[in-house]
């Protein structure tokens, strides 16, 4: 018993240390900033950046809330034709990275683009078609790219929620609107908070969309400081402020999530979906169809149209399949190692459940609060100073992905670790299983769902990862996101489109797998 505990603690401590490399880097570098430099940074940059970043975060939170909660509510509470398809349509936007959305919508809204032409047709050439290079454009892109997280968590909570309370409220004379605002919505608060926190964290660390749309958030400004002006200390200083900002959000989210226990403790009554009337069905589908049009159908049509062009021009060469292979290899490797690395941390917490194990969980989440370019920089300088012989190999890239997406793996496993009561493991031991056998035959099977989700989530995010890959990839090792980035910045639409299409197609099977498992567990 003591022996396992120590193995776990040693392993999880080393994982946590690994995960904190970028933070240590930021602390060391920002520590070198003098007081005048800090005050200069404070007065010249921070107010503008804070304003830009926070308004964007709030707008995206509102956008994702409206899209995510409305669609989740309709799909879980009404029975209508094509309901299963609708669930899929709401999560498919996750297969498209933010920078692809940004790129597609800038070319669609140009005066010669599909939407631009439509605009001119309707409003005439005098009225300038709207541009995306402002806070609303960025908020639009990040909302359609991120609302699926809110949808997933809220529809999950709605499926499990206690209908009996709602019925009781109805019996006491509340109408359905009152029931929604006064009963259902407050009960959904933890799920909404978790979903929105996820969306906001993505906004804070987004690099691709904001740099394509040139909207100065913390992350973009940090990147420009380090790569345009070579000012690593100012970049680290800004990163530190960003970390504090993100931590505030995380703490808020934990605060809301901890309340969840009060609601889902009792045995929930099975929820029945009310069949939708014909009019309702039309309304439901026009809402969900509208969301799908912008968040999936239009971008995919664009990708298909330009990929067809590329196919016709014979641009899909052997090199292209090389990028596909690189992308898949790195994603498989990162997903596997991150899942393995997250296991001791999750198990350690399952066993101890104290302040230390809790803080380990937080420390493992560093990848979420630091922007990709900073993580890459931290790892670069760590590797160069301590392990120079692995520099330039793919190991460094895998390490970066592992650290960046470890929080996903840990969170996915933490959920299923909750089900692993110490008594189950003790039963195994008392029946004579060795620690190793116990892990293999008792612990892992219980954790299977969590392990699979962890693997899939890290796989999807690594497949889409851009900023750290740009800096750390071995020479000549181009992945699909890197190619999209390069081709898009050169306006080679017919080359960017097939890469974006392959990214989407690559994500589909694993997403399908995740959803199937998700369905099985909520059924």
């Amino acid at each position: 018993m003591v022996k396992i505990l120590s193995t776990r603690s040693v392993l999880s401590t080393s994982v946590v240390l690994l995960a904190s490399i970028p933070l240590i880097y930021v602390l060391i570098n920002s520590g070198q900033l003098s007081i005048p430099q800090w005050s200069n940074l404070w007065s010249a940059r921070l107010p503008g950046l804070l304003w830009n970043t926070l308004t964007l975060a709030i707008l995206v939170a509102i956008g994702s809330f409206v899209l995510g909660v409305s669609s989740a509510w309709l799909i879980t509470r009404r029975e209508f034709i094509g309901r299963r398809v609708a669930t899929w349509l709401m999560i498919l936007p996750l297969t498209i990275p933010t920078y692809v959305f940004a790129h597609i919508y800038t070319s669609l809204t140009e005066s010669s683009g599909w939407l631009g032409q439509l605009w001119t047709m309707i409003f005439g050439p005098e009225i300038q078609n709207p541009e995306l290079y402002n806070v609303f454009g960025v908020a639009f892109v990040l909302s359609i790219a991120g609302f699926s997280y809110v949808f997933l968590l809220v529809s999950d909570a709605l499926t499990r929620s206690r209908v009996d309370i709602e019925e009781a409220a109805r019996l006491h004379g509340l109408n359905s609107r009152q029931v929604f605002w006064r009963i259902s919505l407050p009960m959904l608060r933890p799920a909404i908070a978790a979903g929105l926190a996820l969306v906001v964290l993505h906004v804070l660390s987004d690099f691709g969309a904001v740099s394509m749309l040139r909207y100065q958030t913390f992350t973009l400004s940090i990147y420009l400081q380090m790569s345009g002006r070579f000012d690593l200390q100012a970049a680290a200083g800004l990163s530190l402020v960003l970390v504090l900002l993100s931590l505030t959000f995380l703490i808020l989210e934990r605060f809301f999530r901890d309340r969840q226990r009060y609601y889902s403790a009792a045995q929930a009554q099975r929820m029945k979906r009310r069949p939708a009337s014909k009019t309702e069905m039309v309304l439901i589908w026009s809402w969900l169809g509208g969301i799908t049009l912008f968040a999936f159908a239009l971008p995919v049509t664009w990708m298909l149209a330009w990929s067809w062009e590329a196919w016709q021009l014979d641009l899909i060469t052997e090199e292209f399949w090389g990028y596909v292979k690189n992308s898949i290899s790195i994603s498989v490797a990162a997903a596997t190692f991150a899942t393995i690395a997250a296991l001791p941390v999750a198990l350690f917490h399952a066993r101890l459940r104290n302040k230390i194990s809790q803080s380990y969980l937080h420390m493992a989440s560093i990848g979420f609060v630091l922007p990709g370019p900073v993580i890459a920089l931290g790892i670069l300088s760590f590797v160069l100073s301590t392990l120079p012989f692995i520099y330039g190999t793919i190991i460094v890239l895998v390490l970066a992905m592992l650290i960046r997406f470890l929080p996903l793996a840990v969170q996915a496993q933490e959920a299923s670790v909750q089900q692993l009561s110490p008594s189950i493991e003790e039963a195994g031991r008392s029946l004579g299983a060795s620690p190793w056998e116990n892990l293999r035959r008792v612990t892992i099977p219980v954790l299977r769902t969590g392990l699979v989700s962890a693997w899939v989530l890290v796989f999807i995010d690594t497949l889409k990862e851009l900023p750290a890959t740009l800096l750390l990839r071995p020479t000549g090792f181009d992945t699909l996101p890197v190619r999209i980035w390069i081709e898009a910045s050169e306006e080679m639409l017919e080359l960017a489109a097939p890469a974006a299409l392959m990214l989407m197609l690559g994500t589909l099977p694993v997403l399908w797998f995740l959803m199937r498992q998700h369905d099985a567990s909520t059924r």
Binding site: I394, L397, T475, F477, E491
Partner: protein, 335 residues
Amino acid sequence: MKRGIISLIIMWSMLAVQIGVAQAEELVVYSGRSDKFVKPVVKAFTEKTDIKVTLHAGSSTALLNKLKLEGKRSRADLYISNDAGNLQKGADLGLFKPMKDDLIKVIPANYRAKDNSWVGLSARARVLVVSTKDNSADFVKSVFDLADPRLKGKLGITHSGNESYIAGVTVYMRANDDKKVKDWLAGMKSNVNGSVFNKHSKIVKAVASGKKSIGLVNHYYVFRHLDKKPDAPIKIVMPDQSNDGMGVAWNVAGAAIAKQSKNSAAAEKFIAFMVSEAGQKLFAEVNREYPTRDGIPTAKNVPARSSYKVADVPMRDLGTYRNATLDVIEAVGMP
């Protein structure tokens, strides 16, 4: 079955890591220029010398930063930039190995670093693209006229992060005083009213379609557009050509040998190829830039360099005064 899949996945992960470790010996080029312009040159070089070249593409600035961070661990042998600013910056940071004079003496001295640590390969001119359909911008004779309030809503410029844009402003700052440049930027800022372009090609498109009357771009974007649409109602105007005018701002794209390169012999061969007549012709053709080597003809229709006045600012200034330029741009708050 299931265990089979899992072990397959783990094996693949190991394999992926393995593949990355095994790398062949070859020339590694950090290239900040578009693949489509560099690839023809690389291809011709490999055919001629049998030396394999791996292109590592990215933005010039980001790649220079990478080179600096990597230090002696970098695998780069050569650095190619689309902007003299980055080249001089790299030279100032001591990232390059000065080349022998013999190697690059065919290129005039004002297109090279003082210590030969980089060499300019092709030059581009900052010109005005003007609509031939409306005459509202016909009064513009100098880039400084772009701040004139008569051009409100009619001016197309790129966002201020663009390397060519920054380099242009540096030239204007070296040829004039800071105050004049600041006022000029402020005037343009009010003329564009927050709406700038992310690509030079889009400025040309906007002028051709009549959405804008005038734009500030690199010369080859205009020709690229005319290639596709020969009848487009646009023309090139060379600014600042009056007797006391400063002349057109130039910028060069160029190359340098990375200091830590263990392949300098092969790297020198690549440089030699790029400054050779054959290499210079390729540069002139693929992107209609001005070859920096004397005596190589420019592409068809491109105004000969002797036909107009060029601002007398050494290319290395584009690096030395880059941060000062960024400070001015940021102080004005250019979008």
